[in-house]
Symmetry: C2
């Protein structure tokens, strides 16, 4: 199979997964009958990426919903191509000699109205330079410790890992714990999940199936976590705590997240990159 065919299949999957996440989240908005206001619906914004010389560099589709379950949830799909600027060529596998790249991915970030429902982040991507690899992961950020939710997301991700390589879950889980960590506060961002990058085993079909499996695992586990918790009443005090915890989320994303830094420094779409930031945050 040509690399172009692989790109087409990967991008088509990310779009399909995007549609499924949006449908699952809108269904939760409908199901939350005690909710305040009408059920939320995604609004989609298309953006184009001009290449460095003003040509067609692809673009993306940003889907954002502000609802009665999801205070703000974004589901971004993108498929872009171009050439890395000199400062990035040495940092990207396979880009030192030929700076051209192609990249497609999906990114999901959910911030909930209820402080009793964990926030969630999932991102998977396929990147092609003179090399080609998958990367991504999924992780949970409960406002209050939630062992049940963490165990269920971890269980789903572990199953997806085991179907690919029984040794990889422990490694990807540890990579997630290491990555989503705030050194200045000596605390993790959340309850972990998995994180992987530069995945190019030589068996593209297996790597692609794994990446699909990660998306499916989060899609199966997370909406159920939300559904079971979204109707529970919460207090003003819990809401205030949620806004403070969200501050940690912002600190991580702006101080440490490599994807955010990379996106902002390579002229990515600012609104799509910063879609991850919570709708309301406090540093009291």
């Amino acid at each position: 199979m040509t690399v172009e065919a692989r790109q087409e299949r990967a991008a088509a999957w990310f779009r399909t997964l995007r549609d499924r996440f949006c449908a699952a989240f809108e269904a939760l908005e409908d199901a939350h009958e005690g909710g305040f206001g009408a059920p939320g619906r995604f609004e989609r914004t298309i953006w184009k990426r001009p290449t460095e010389d003003g040509g067609d560099g692809g673009g993306g589709e940003m889907s954002i919903m502000k609802g009665r379950v999801f205070e703000k949830v974004g589901v971004n799909f993108s498929a872009v191509h171009g050439a890395f600027s000199p400062e990035f060529r040495d940092r990207i596998p396979g880009a030192a000699d030929d700076p051209r790249f192609w990249a497609s991915g999906i990114s999901v970030v959910a911030h909930l109205c209820s402080p009793l429902v964990p926030a969630m982040h999932m991102n998977t991507r396929f990147i092609v330079t003179t090399k080609a690899w998958f990367g991504g992961g999924g992780d949970l950020t409960p406002i209050y410790p939630d062992a049940d939710a963490a165990a269920r997301l971890h269980g789903a991700l572990e199953a997806a890992c085991d179907a690919y390589d029984p040794a990889c879950y422990a490694r990807f889980r540890e990579a997630c714990d290491r990555y989503f960590f705030l050194p200045h506060r000596d605390e993790p961002r959340g309850a972990g999940g998995i994180f992987y990058d530069n995945l190019g085993s030589g068996d593209w079909e297996a790597d692609f199936a794994f990446t699909q499996g990660v998306g499916r695992a989060v899609l199966e586990a997370y909406p159920e976590i939300v559904r079971e918790r979204m109707a529970a009443p919460w207090t003003e005090e819990q809401r205030a705590h949620q806004l403070v915890r969200r501050g940690r989320y912002v600190e991580f994303n702006l101080l440490y997240d490599r994807g955010t830094e990379f996106g902002l420094r390579t002229g990515g779409n600012v609104e799509a990159i910063l879609m991850s930031l919570p709708p309301m945050v406090a540093w009291p």
Copy 2:
């Protein structure tokens, strides 16, 4: 005069200036008779900085007020000493051969209840390695463009500069515009002010007098700016806009501010460093 005597005089001035800022801001709380709730008062927290080997590394005094004029205002004084870790020695003037340092400073960050009153930041410091220099500046961040407020702060800072070196205002003003800029949004953080660093002209008395002048200029100009605007009524829409603009402030401080990065990476006091972040912020 010995360097110890200079350190003592600089630190004593930063403390004095801290007291004057706190008094001026509390006076505004008292003067805001139409205000909601009791006038705010500063609360002070003392923190100690252990050195790298667990010894006495000095510390600081963090004064924070949450009032009816100032939604959150912090006035930090610190005087610390120790030794730079190897990764920082090459980045700090005079630290390559001898990593020991002494540093004292004052930092003021004001976020107002009213979206019609500009936020303000001022910081001055004296740093000693094998070299010794002053740094700092002051700048204004209006939520809505406010030419009068900007002109008044700039005028006061220009007068302080002119008393030191008539050529320096233009240079320090431009440095401020360059520094407080968000490249990813292609927009300035605010209305500017002045910014200077590595100021060691050889005439310590003159450099010190200038740094005192910068503090006095902000202390004279800013409370008047607040006083004239604090009673004006504002709308919910203006408040919502304020929370969005504060997001830009957070983006700058966490993505680009060198002082924040430096403080967090050198084990500074996290609460004191992140005191600059606004009390309530939105990324809607």
